[in-house]
Subunit: 396 residues, 2 copies
DNA sequence: GCTGCTTTGTCCTGTGAGTGGAAAAAGTGG
DNA sequence: CCACTTTTTCCACTCACAGGACAAAGCAGC
């Protein structure tokens, strides 16, 4: 199949495409109920979309009491590629134009190997998905990287945990390789987009999405739009001071949140505890696996290990303290917690909630849900697909 | 003069009004250069604005090499009222439609006397300004109050420092009394608007405006628009924890920024220091005035008093620490410091800068000016006038 | 003061977006 | 088969707006 290259010709068409993306197949009459256009105008725009091939006819709709309406839907052959590059693993997924995941691969990988090696692997994974018959090609791709991005150009800037990526033209390079439009963003922003599109944040205009993985970051959504800050580093909360004169951090300061709680810090603290003989559970795991990760701590906690629980609780307290500050400042309508350590589950959530509800003022917390993300590891790739579809479904 | 009641009939007219407000008298030709409209269309819209009386002819412009163009300007008889209610004083100013301050009054006053008493005084001040010939009436008024506001309705909600105001229909009541449209907002947001309109933030889309007065608050501007949060309490940074297990705060927690540094806290600490004999300078001022305020501390610091300087420096450090966190999170293009304690000047600013530049990452601070507000005590009233003019100069 | 050139303002017509009514087409339930 | 509903198409009409033609006004040089 030839890849689609069409873009909506005006704001009405863009609106219709997004309705079809978010609401699935729809009758012309139903579409008419949702947009404020006359029937005649709507018919014209739908016809034009059909001509471009972005939208196809899809049989007759159920009757609403009279003549049955003709259904339309986004072309089911459209394919988006969602890529979520984490610090220690990569997720690649294929979606249709309605952003339903058709296939999903996950592989361990170290970002520090640099963009060339990483993208070789990403392209191989994409090829594998294509080979399995899920796609003949891609109409667009969204890429998430674990660091700040100069968004308009799609270029990582000064990423602390991924040296070698600074200034690498990710968007340009991948667009070339994949032969389709590409958008690049911070992985945390994509998680926020994912939860907004298909997760817990569907109905909230202003929310925060805190991702606790190898590092800690925060997606900020203002009025339904991701806010990226002046230089693309908004939401970089890992280096907010959580403990005065606390642990030294890679950034050169002391007491950064990330130095006290994150996947990496948790693994380090757990190993330390195991070596000091504070926890038999952790020690045995350390021996078996030759190392500890956040997953081990989660398992130990689930098994009732007091040390593991305490580590989680303390980390949650630190995180909650920082989030409490952000809540006072930003007054969001929702806080989503996600990322690798969500396995720590309700122990973590409870600690965070306790801090926030205690420290922030009632007006800000009164009606503020603090919840775990709904999409888990797929939030990133769905967000990535959403990113590129938002781009492609906007007037050229 | 009969008050104007007209509003722009469409987005073009709104655009033109704002150009005339921000750029002063302008020729039709110049306006044409700034908006993307054909000359014919422009002429029609300008004529309609002339008909409404919002805009008047203003002679001939200088020649640009050919026929001289006709100038137009906002009706010079339009008057806006800007009211900035602080915790301990009230500012009232009259502006023309170009938001130039024509008259300004300031009076001490305690908000805790409640809305009825306060507005009695505000109305008296407005009447005084009117009586001095500056205005025959008002076409709109903007009101700033020192606490969170449910913005669409113009009603204070759960304001900690102004009991008795909760739920008082400020907008409705004042609109009745003044006989003109009224908009109400948090005083910090208005300061941000003021600095954006006529101060240091004219060219910045995303910035923070930290006001340190009796309390501490922060105006947030995202993409040129004030962000107010889900319940109107965004920017309420006074109760972010600055010192773990620090001083008890009126809100019930410990270590809130406001408990450690603010006009009130500074006065308290200075008094304590004077009583303990730590500073002769402060002690003598305490004796003379029967009490100390932030102004005394500023004066003592200017006179070189070590204790006063240390108080300011410590407060600046605390504030800087909190701001550093906000900078990491929000990645603004500018931070403005304002409010009553700006008298503390560069000692304070230096302390804040040190903290922020040390604690936040280079990508966020690399090109981040941290400056004092340019407008001082007039920022609030100018912001108030700007608020109501933005409202009135938008399509009905 | 006259002449050629530039800019500004006005008038007028053409175009394309969009609305809303009428009528035809396609169903449903009795 | 009939009365009624919904969907779709068709068409005439309105309105916003662009852009060209032309007149008015001003400048600079002679």
């Amino acid at each position: 199949m030839r890849r689609m290259t069409a873009r909506p010709g005006n704001a009405h068409q863009a609106r219709l495409l997004k309705l079809l993306r978010d609401g699935g197949p729809n009758s012309r009459a139903q579409l008419g109920d949702q947009v404020d256009l006359s029937r005649s105008k709507l018919a014209v725009e739908v016809d034009r979309l059909l001509e471009t091939g972005l939208v196809v006819a899809d049989g007759l709709a159920a009757s609403r009491g009279g003549r049955r309406s003709h259904n339309v839907r986004l072309n089911p052959e459209l394919r988006f590629l969602g890529v979520d590059i984490g610090a220690t693993s990569v997720d690649v997924a294929v979606t249709n134009a309605e952003l339903e995941t058709l296939g999903h691969l996950n592989q361990p990988m170290d970002v520090r190997e640099g963009p060339v090696a990483v993208f070789e692997q990403v392209l191989a994974m994409a090829a594998k998905l294509r080979a399995s018959g899920l796609a003949e090609g891609f109409d667009g791709a969204g890429i998430g990287v674990p660091g700040p991005v100069r968004f308009p150009e799609g270029i990582p800037v000064a990423p602390p945990i991924m040296p070698g990526w600074d200034g690498f033209p990710v968007r340009e390079a991948l667009s070339q390789e994949l032969g389709c439009p590409v958008m690049v963003d911070n992985d945390v922003n994509l998680m926020a987009l994912g939860e907004q599109h298909a997760g817990v944040a569907r109905t909230v205009a202003d929310f925060l999405c805190v991702k606790i993985g190898t590092g800690i970051g925060c997606g900020i959504v203002v009025g339904g739009e991701v806010y990226r800050g002046t230089t693309g580093s908004a939401g970089d909360i890992g280096h907010i001071q959580a403990v005065p004169d606390g642990r030294p951090c890679a950034c050169g300061n002391r007491g950064c949140l990330e130095a006290h709680f994150s996947g990496a810090a948790l693994a380090r603290d757990a190993t330390e505890a195991a070596q000091q003989g504070l926890s038999a559970e952790l020690a045995s795991r350390l021996e078996t696996n030759g190392g500890l990760t956040a997953v081990d701590v989660a398992a130990a906690a689930a098994a009732g290990d007091a040390t593991a629980l305490e580590l989680i609780r303390e980390g949650g307290n630190r995180t909650g303290q920082v989030i409490a500050g952000l809540v006072s400042f930003f007054n969001p309508g929702l806080v989503v917690i996600g990322g690798g350590v969500t396995g720590l589950g309700h122990t973590l959530l409870a600690a965070i909630r306790t801090q926030v509800y205690r420290q922030s003022l009632p007006l800000a917390t009164g009606n503020l849900p603090i919840v775990l993300g709904e999409l888990g590891p797929t939030a990133g790739v769905i967000g990535a697909a959403r990113l590129i579809s938002d781009h492609l479904f906007s007037p050229a």
